[in-house]
């Protein structure tokens, strides 16, 4: 059983966004990490990269496959979670506690296109 956290925005491609002021922290959901299995590598974006809602910004590699990361928001990457370079398994241990990138949002109105926790829970069933 996978967990879902309330108060976050969710994308159909199984990323979450936590909004704090003008910034969004982006990670993948517990459902996604469970489907992937053991995560062995996270291909992080670089600081100052521009990301676009719906476009790929990196990848998560499990033992058996690579999955593209799709950005749920548009903006500029201001920070990446460097801890994932040495410990990619943190995604398996706590998918909601380990964000992948921090984005300065260029268009907060885009968040309306995302789901709340209830709607996301429904698509995971």
């Amino acid at each position: 059983m996978s967990t879902i956290v309330k108060g976050l925005y969710y994308a159909e491609s199984h990323e979450w966004v936590k909004v704090e002021g003008e910034f969004g922290f982006v990670g993948i959901t517990d459902y996604a990490q469970h489907a992937l299995g053991n995560v062995v590598y996270v291909d992080l974006p670089e600081v100052d990269d521009d990301v676009t809602q719906g476009d790929e910004f990196g990848a998560v590699e499990s033992v058996k496959a690579a999955s593209d990361l799709i950005s749920p928001v548009s903006g500029t990457v201001v920070e990446v979670n460097e801890k994932l370079n040495d410990k990619p398994q943190l995604i398996n241990e706590d998918a909601f506690g380990n964000w992948i990138m921090k984005v300065k949002l260029s268009d907060p109105r885009e968040l309306k296109a995302l789901m709340d926790s209830e709607a996301y829970e429904a698509i995971c069933e």
Binding site: G37, D43, K64
Partner: protein
């Protein structure tokens, strides 16, 4: 991975569901990929013991006056005057030199051979075998649906089998087998596997294989292992997988399996093509590559050197046993010398890699 319209189930299918395995189609069967996690299962086989359902594999029995001559005709290895109880690895070739399949041949009797083939190739292989019986007095029977099969692999496999199943197997040398009468049937136990560790494969009725599975799982001495770690284990010791390192379009010489192609044998299908390829030298080769970064090179990714594509990755992983990002790749032979620098395109970026020995991990077989 191949999907067929109707996905088949092995005789252990219900056990996998009961254990909560993650299931996926493989070779036309709905198979367990992992139960706990690929890493945990992989390490169990390297350090202790694991059990795999390999009932999807195909079994073909060849009998009759000309059976030895016939098997030698369709198989690259030489089974002439083989002792009963011995097993041979080899390849069935098309006349042009590509592989129909790779397989094991068990010599069961003077005129009786048991052939073990890949699940995804059962129909194709059997048709090929039947087609090539012309001129031989042999009977070829597809027993794939009769037999169940489990592989018990790892340094503690021998003890688990002797203690829990009561079968005397430690006397078996690597690549030999014996038939054992048990519970009213004759089973086959061989010291073989696909993991690079010591281990055994057991062939028997669906009922017997279910009993073996339950007994070993309940003993807690072996961990149920899925096809996910079967692939990471065989990859680390450079065992080929049909459809990746060997294929209808990849010859055994290109795959580095020349020692299983006996060119001094009187004849076999594909011999002329192999003789010619050996004389001319292969233009492509399966090599090992080690990446400097942790990104993973997957099947089909392009390998580049001198600004051009020189081949593709056949299998790649972040090796669970060594922690390195490594892959096997089929590349232009001009770049196959150890130490040659190449690059691999992973998503949009090029990653540096070096040609290394493709046996990434040392095998631990009992000789």
């Amino acid at each position: 991975m191949e999907e067929t319209l109707e996905t088949k189930k092995t005789c252990l299918h219900a056990k996998h569901l009961a254990l909560g395995a993650k299931m996926m189609p493989f070779g036309g069967f709905d198979m367990p990929i992992e139960y706990s996690s690929i890493i945990e299962e992989h390490n169990a086989v390297r350090q202790a013991a694991g059990i795999f359902d390999v009932s999807h594999m195909g079994e073909v029995l060849v009998t009759g006056r000309d059976s030895e001559k016939y098997v030698n005709h369709i198989f690259t290895n030489d089974i002439t005057n083989a002792p009963i109880g011995k097993i041979y690895y080899g390849i069935m070739l098309y006349p042009e030199g590509g592989a129909v399949d790779d397989l094991l041949v068990y010599k069961v009797g003077a005129k009786e051979f048991f052939l073990v083939i890949n699940a995804s190739n059962i129909d194709k292989d059997f048709a090929w075998m039947v087609e090539n019986t012309k001129g031989f007095e042999v009977k070829v029977e597809n027993l794939s649906e009769v037999y169940g099969e489990v592989a018990i692999q790892g340094p503690k496999a021998v003890d688990a089998i002797e203690e829990e199943l009561g079968l005397k197997v430690n006397e078996l040398a690597f690549y030999t087998f014996k038939e054992i009468k048990v519970a009213g049937e004759t089973i086959i136990v061989s010291r073989t596997g696909y993991t690079g560790e010591d281990g055994f494969e057991i062939y028997g009725s669906h009922a017997y294989i279910n009993k073996v599975w339950d007994t070993l799982i309940n003993s807690k001495k072996v961990l149920p292992c899925g096809l996910g770690c079967r692939d990471t284990l065989r990859f680390e010791v450079a065992l080929p997988l049909y459809g990746h390192e060997l294929d209808w379009n990849i010859s055994p010489l290109e795959a580095g399996l020349g020692s299983f192609v006996k060119l001094d044998k009187e004849e076999f299908i594909g011999k002329e093509a192999m003789v010619l390829q050996k004389a001319e030298g292969v233009k492509r080769k399966v090599v090992g590559l080690e990446l400097t970064e942790r990104a993973v090179a997957r099947n089909g990714y392009e390998v580049e050197a001198d600004g051009k594509v020189i081949g593709t990755v056949t299998t790649g992983y972040l090796s669970i046993s060594t922690g390195k990002s490594i892959c096997m790749a089929l590349i232009d032979s001009a770049y196959s010398a150890l130490g040659t620098p190449v690059s691999i395109r992973i998503r949009k970026k090029l990653f540096a890699a070096t040609v290394v020995k493709k046996r990434f991990y040392e095998k631990n077989y009992k000789k």
